[in-house]
């Protein structure tokens, strides 16, 4: 399928469906027409076309009702590709359509208090009971859990084999008895995330994704898609982003300037700019079909920059205040709608969430630079015998 053909399809679809009508009906129809994600197979919201063509569709449908990328992010970015890759035909048909239309929201049940960087050591148990699995454990850093219909869940089904081998991947019914969601307050005062307690939660075996014991491999698909999403080098304009927030104040309030701050700000301006240029170069490589390894570094760079800039911002303003400590849920990270104190605190999470900077440096040094791994002490030890 090529660009003119796809444009024709969109035109035909628009001829049949009025964008000014019911939003949900329109979205469902778009899915059924294969215009949701064109690189998905036909019948599952796609046309089996190349991924680049999606941009054409999105352009053509820019002025029609849209899905809400924020709250649907985990479903779209992580659950969907995993269901596509490992789901049965039945699972794909059951889950993908309401996932895409936003009728069903998804969350991710991976991290645990004891399993962060070392996710494979997770302890949530799933024990088979006839046609069902009984799940017990605790998950953490689950955004959107409180309005999710489904969760992608990795649980331990065999503690007697080494850690990577005893895991199984499930779709967790967030409405099932025994699922308890509690907001997790962060240092910013608000709660973006949740803790999810699973107590005797019964999941039918047809909610299992992939084979028993194959959960680690299935989870890799999810995580690869997460990194793509986070490191996705969103286009930033020169002097924009977190730097822009600082520069606005700098320009508006000359009385705040000192030589110390000036020199540091100039150095950060340069670092932000070379990082921006790297992102631009990376996108050019992607477009040219030669994605480089540079992507692994973008998240690391932005975390450092955000932290340095937001720290400078607080210091520059000599602001001992804070905009609001109220404990409430927030759905998104509102860097620019909030005060400098919030930005400073929230940016601290940038080097932890979605892979700590330490883990990213490990990954770069081993996968990009080819440096040898450290001696492993957990390779062939049954999970239950690991020190913790």
């Amino acid at each position: 399928m090529n660009e003119p053909e796809i444009k024709e399809r969109v035109a035909a679809f628009l001829g049949e469906h009025d964008p000014a009508g019911d939003r949900l009906e329109f979205l469902r129809a778009r899915f059924d027409a294969g215009l949701a994600w064109v690189w998905f197979p036909e019948g599952l919201g796609g046309l089996g076309a190349s991924r680049e063509l999606q941009q054409v569709v999105d352009r053509e449908l820019a002025h029609t009702p849209q899905i809400t990328s924020g709250v649907q992010g985990i479903g779209l970015g992580m659950a969907a590709p995993t269901i596509l890759a490992f789901g049965t035909e039945e699972q794909r048909r059951r889950f993908l359509r309401p996932l895409w239309t936003g009728e069903e929201i998804w969350c991710q049940l991976f991290s645990e208090p004891g399993a962060g960087s070392d996710l494979a050591t997770l302890a949530t148990r799933a024990v088979r009971d006839g046609d069902e699995w009984v799940v017990d454990g605790q998950k953490v850093w689950t955004s959107g859990a409180h309005h999710s219909r489904w969760g992608i869940l990795v649980a331990r089904t065999d503690p007697d084999v080494p850690k990577h081998r005893g895991l199984t991947y499930f779709v967790c019914d967030m409405h099932a008895p025994g699922v308890e969601v509690r907001p997790l307050r962060q240092i910013t005062g608000e709660a973006e995330f949740n803790e999810v307690f699973l107590t005797g939660v019964r999941l039918p075996d047809d909610l299992r994704l992939g084979a028993v014991g194959d959960g680690w491999r299935v989870a890799q698909t999810t995580l690869m898609n997460e990194r793509v999403a986070i490191g996705g080098a969103a286009s930033v304009r020169r002097g924009g982003g977190m730097l822009g927030a600082v520069l606005d104040t700098w320009r508006e309030q000359p009385e705040l300037r000192t030589h110390d701050l000036h020199q540091r700000l100039l150095a950060l301006w340069v670092e932000a700019e070379v990082t921006r240029l790297s992102g631009a170069r990376l996108r050019e490589q992607l477009v040219a079909g030669h994605p480089g390894p540079e992507g692994s570094g973008m998240k690391l760079s932005f975390a450092r920059l955000n932290q340095a800039l937001s720290g400078l911002d607080v210091e520059m303003r000599r602001d001992l205040g804070y905009d609001d400590w109220a404990f409430r849920r927030s759905e998104t990270v509102d860097f620019y709608g909030r005060g400098p104190g919030y930005r400073y605190l929230r940016a601290k999470g940038n080097s932890i969430e979605g892979g700590t900077s330490e883990i990213l440096r490990n990954i770069i040094s081993e996968r990009v630079l080819g440096l040898p791994a450290e001696p492993r002490v957990d390779k062939d030890v049954p999970w239950k015998d690991l020190p913790r």
Binding site: S111, P113, A115, G116, S117, D118, T121, V140, W141, L184, R185, Q186, I187, G189, T258, H259, D260, L261, Q307, G311, V314, E315, R318, D319, L320, G321, Y322, D323, D324, W325, A326, F327, G341, Y344, L345, K348, G349, S351, I352, E353, T356, S357, E358, R361, E374, R376, V377, D378, V381, L386, P387, R388
Partner: protein, 356 residues
């Protein structure tokens, strides 16, 4: 002049640390924060006045700087510094720095009778000066003027005002005592020592005496370096304990070399912060104070930031106390001069002039 701790100081430290371990563990501070999470309102429930009573009365910290003839202990800055280290270690919500250091330093040259009340801990004072002011710019944030014996104007970012019985207001080289000032606490970055805007509308004021505000802020800044040392020490110690305990990849994360090297570097920063803090109270010179502030303010922030990062996700949660230290550290980076201000002051103090 010594950079070591005396035996008396170590005994004082042990007494304060023991009391704080018992009465003011981080969990207790967290509970106090929770009691009014949005920090709004005119009184700050965060202060532990029972604890303060014991510290001030039984251990006698409130009168350390006050001469014996005024009912104090006549101790040296060096002893006060040890108390500040321990209070910093505990982010203890008591008005020691604001009343027993800053307000007291302003009062001392006047020999005013209020000193006796402060020494006994019967009353608590605050210096109505912005915490963001510095020895080099003492008037920052203040717009108070004297008019017919009455004070009008406001001061922003005042620490300890919300817990003070008496406000001491420096105006044009003189110090005034005011009892009826409007104190409005704003949500503050530092949850354990919120700042307030203090407003006077033709408030009655008693002239207490002369006040060299820059000098008061310089001495306060030198002592603040010890509080920052305490904050950094807690962060280092707590992180060390965490990385020895926390396992990932079947190893304590403290066995990973990158973590070890960062903590070795941090330790070295803290070692030097200790020497700098001691030096600032040993001679109290403008150079020693500027050095200690330039170094320790940054070390405290860095230590808290490393602590948060090495705690991983748990460090981002409200329920773990590390954020209290980060917020304290970042606030004291601004308080009484930023590291950049103190380095700038050194340029002329030690003859390292800038261009032009």
């Amino acid at each position: 002049m010594t950079l070591l701790y005396s035996e008396v100081e170590e005994e004082l430290r042990a007494a304060v640390r023991g009391l704080l371990a018992d009465r003011c563990p981080p969990a207790a501070v967290l509970r106090r924060i929770e009691s009014e999470p949005d920090g709004r309102g005119s009184a700050s429930p965060v202060y532990d006045l029972d604890l303060w009573k014991t510290l001030a009365g039984e251990i006698g910290v409130a009168g350390l700087l006050i001469p014996e003839e005024h009912g104090g202990a006549g101790a040296s800055a060096s002893e006060v510094a040890v108390v500040l280290e321990e209070l910093g270690r505990a982010v203890a919500p008591v008005p020691f720095l604001t009343s027993s250091v800053m307000a007291t330093l302003a009062l001392l040259p006047t020999g005013d009778a209020l000193l006796g009340e402060l020494a006994e801990g019967r009353r608590t004072a605050a210096l109505a000066v912005s915490f963001a002011a510095s020895p080099y710019r003492p008037g920052r944030g203040a717009s108070v003027r004297l008019d017919g014996g009455r004070l009008s104007g406001s001061v922003t970012g005042v620490a300890g005002a919300d817990v003070a019985d008496v406000l001491l207001v420096p105006v044009d080289g003189d110090l005034y005592e005011v009892t009826g000032g409007g104190v409005v606490v704003a949500p503050s970055l530092d949850l354990t020592r919120p700042v307030a805007t203090v407003t006077f509308e033709a408030a009655q004021a008693r002239r207490v005496g002369a006040c060299d505000l820059a000098e008061v802020l310089l001495s306060s800044a030198g002592l603040l370096a010890s509080e920052q040392l305490g904050v950094a020490e807690w962060c280092l110690d707590t992180t060390l304990a965490h990385v020895k305990e926390r396992h990932q990849f079947a190893r304590p994360i403290g066995s990973f070399q990158a973590v070890k090297h960062r903590l070795a570097d941090l330790w070295l920063d803290v070692v030097r912060a200790r020497a700098a803090a001691r030096s600032a109270v040993a001679d109290g010179s403008a150079v020693s104070v500027a050095v200690a502030q330039a170094w320790n303010a940054a070390v405290a922030v860095h230590a808290a930031e490393e602590a948060l990062q090495l705690h991983g996700g748990i460090g981002m949660t409200w329920e773990h106390p590390v954020h209290l230290y980060l917020k304290r550290a970042k606030s004291t980076e601004i308080a009484l001069g930023t590291p950049g201000d103190h380095r700038e002051a050194l340029a002329s103090l030690v003859d390292v002039p800038g261009p032009e």
